[in-house]
Amino acid sequence: MMLAWRLEDIDFAIIGILICILLLTFIWRNFFRWDTLYGLKQRGTNQGMYRAFEPPLPRQDGAAIAVLEGAALDPRRRGTWLVQGLLAAGFRVLLLRSVGNAADAMRDARCVALVHHGSFAHKEGEVAAALAACIEGTASCITPLAVIVNEGGTPGMKAAIEGVAMAMKGDGSLRAECHLITCTKAPALDAELAGFHDTLVVRRSKASLRDAELQAIGCMLKWVGS
């Protein structure tokens, strides 16, 4: 059968254009949602165990926030929205690569933010242990304050709750003030979240903070005292 371009094919062309628009929208919403830090002319300087980013308009007190990015992917892309918001608010941002080597940066920081992504199936125990180590380590901050940013959905929230439980002392208190930003399918129970000083809980069916990122930045700034 010979294929020929006929006038009726315009219908297929229109459908094709619509599919392209949908595809481009999907790409736009998912992959080009944020500028890289390079868009802010921010490359950061390598400080050994962490990378330091300077704000365009620094605060008078020169306060810093350590951001620990739990993703294996390039951390300068994954935590971009949070780092951008903190830099714009005038904080220095110290981008860490793992809990173990973060002590130097934590000492200089006002707060440690732990961002973790992805599925937590079969590894919730490890994640909870890492969170507990982070919260313990945070106690050496100038103002002991930890913010857990969970993009791992409901399992991630459970891991965060477990982590807080593991880090609690005998009297049921934490050495650091701990806050939680999370997304979850299930309604969060007040009793489960009682260990946290304050929370931002986004109810949604998938493991993503998408569309709530700006509120997350707002909450973070409220907690660290912008």
Binding site: G39, L40, L57, R59, L200, D211, G218, K222
Partner: protein
């Protein structure tokens, strides 16, 4: 003014020539001899019908393109989160005007103060509550009470959206209303706005001691001289303003009332010097603008900041982001919170 008149004249001449050429091309395409045009009612009726049909095609084409563009650019969907409590309100201000809006309050946390102050947010000309939600809710999550109010012709506020002077008067009324101890609980008042909202905030708040800080982005300096010709030159923006009832003509008198650059000049006359206005701006104002803004060009920002002699601590510019400041939202939220909290440079 001369430059504006020249641009207007050139654009009008070009569009007339283009119109005549289109008519001539149609006569050739449809094999209509010029002699037949005169005194032939049938041809005239057919031309009228085809013209109407062409208009309908253009109009529906515009509606489809407008819907697609809104879907494309509006990246923010509503979220169900516990950080902010939003409630629709109607405020009756002095003079009996009723202004609708949405009040976003930070959810009370363990022992934290309920609100750091009241931010009155003014959105852009083509925006509404839905399109402003992501910005105002983020500011509310940071601990401020945020009122996102409706211009005349939007929400339940009565009037015409093109009544720019009316919008300024409404914001002044809102400031008066919330400055009363009974309404505002003595909280500091901040203004936030973009595009037309930036202009409205500057006019209503720069010389008002009840307003502590103003944060504005993508706003203009002189509407007639630096914005209107861009609308005429941009076919899509022109169609949008034409079909949706918009800002196609601004008289010289109105322009004086709704252009920050003229406002600064009148303020300098009232206060007794340009330096006093510049000092006010240094104390209160923070501006942001993208270099690739094609609707309210970067020259607007340059003119405003040059006139006010704004120091680098009072502005931030972006290479990209366009008029809507796409993908710059986290930075804007950070900067706004820093500015409202009195961030001081080292």
């Amino acid at each position: 003014m001369r430059r504006f008149a020249l641009k207007y004249l050139v654009l009008r001449t070009l569009s007339t020539v283009a119109g005549v050429l289109i008519i001539a091309a149609n006569l050739v395409l449809w094999h209509v001899p010029p002699d037949d045009l005169m005194g032939n009612q049938g041809y005239f009726n057919r031309a009228l019908l085809l013209g109407f049909q062409t208009f309908l095609f253009a109009y529906f084409g515009f509606l489809i393109a407008d819907s697609v563009s809104r879907f494309w650019w509006n990246r923010w969907r509503p979220v169900d989160a516990n950080a902010v409590v939003s409630k629709g309100i109607i405020i009756e201000v002095a003079g009996g005007n009723r202004i609708s809006g949405v009040m976003h309050e930070p959810a009370a946390a363990n022992g934290a103060p309920n609100s750091l102050g009241l931010v009155i947010a003014s959105y852009g000309f083509n925006d509404n509550q839905f399109r402003a939600n992501h910005v105002v809710q983020a500011i509310a999550a940071a601990g401020f009470s945020v009122l996102s109010w409706d211009y005349r012709g939007r929400g339940a506020t009565r009037g015409r959206i093109t009544d720019l002077e009316g919008h300024v008067a409404d914001l002044k009324s809102l400031i008066e209303h919330f400055a009363r101890p009974t309404a505002g609980d003595g909280r500091p008042i901040f203004l936030l706005g973009w595009s037309v909202g930036g202009m409205v905030s500057i006019h209503a708040g720069l010389h008002d001691e009840k307003v502590r800080k103003i944060f504005a982005w993508s706003t203009w300096s002189d509407l007639r001289r630096r914005v209107l010709w861009r609308i005429y030159a941009n076919p899509f923006a022109l169609l949008r303003y034409l079909f949706k009832g918009g800002l196609l003509h601004v008289s010289r008198e109105t322009n004086e009332m709704v252009s920050p650059i003229h406002y600064f000049e009148s303020l300098a006359r009232d206060l007794g010097g340009k330096d006093k206005v510049a000092a006010l701006a240094r104390e209160k104002l923070f501006l942001c603008h993208a270099r690739n803004d094609t609707l309210v060009g970067f020259d607007n920002f340059e003119e405003n900041s040059r006139w006010l002699r704004l120091p680098p601590a009072n502005y931030l510019t972006f290479k990209k982001g366009s008029h809507l400041m796409l993908r710059k939202e986290p930075v804007l939220i950070g900067l706004a919170c820093r500015h409202f909290s009195g961030g001081v440079v080292r």
